[in-house]
Symmetry: C2
Subunit: 91 residues, 2 copies
């Protein structure tokens, strides 16, 4: 992609990446609650032992950890989302 020999990337690879992306029927915003001002909400978690339960419904009051709100969301919206449970196994 070059203009007059100058390699110009599209404004944002996000937009470029989206050009060929067709949203699924019913696909809309997932995050209605968490850090809405942030361009992208990614979380880094370090673990050395034990188990943590992480939210994937974007509605938890203890985000990024799960607080069970997905049960209410699923019942209200006919969804089936649940958490990610990560356990550290000592080698």
């Amino acid at each position: 992609f070059s203009v007059m020999g100058v390699n110009t990337r599209p404004i944002s690879t996000q937009l470029h990446a989206a050009a060929d992306y067709v949203p699924k029927e019913g696909e809309g915003k997932i995050n209605l609650l968490i850090d809405l001002e942030s361009p992208k909400v990614a979380n880094m978690e370090e673990m050395s032992s034990g188990k943590k339960v992480f939210c994937r419904c974007w509605l938890s009051g203890t985000f990024p950890l799960c607080d069970g709100t997905h049960v209410k969301h699923n019942a209200a919206c006919g969804d089936n989302v649940g958490p990610l449970i990560v356990t550290v196994k000592s080698e």
Copy 2:
């Protein structure tokens, strides 16, 4: 909650839990792709070292791991969801 002295739980605590739950404006199904037949999609992951990047947009082709599809989803829907990155730190 009892009927003729017999303690009967509501059909499903999910429905009971949802009775007081008011979905946010725009809150609809999040999962349009993954194990749609399952009543609830929870994933258990064991880690002993290293780093894993987990999907939270429910659109990854490598679910429960992230494959970057959230970038296309965010651009198409004006969302800002991103992955969970878990790193195991040796004690």
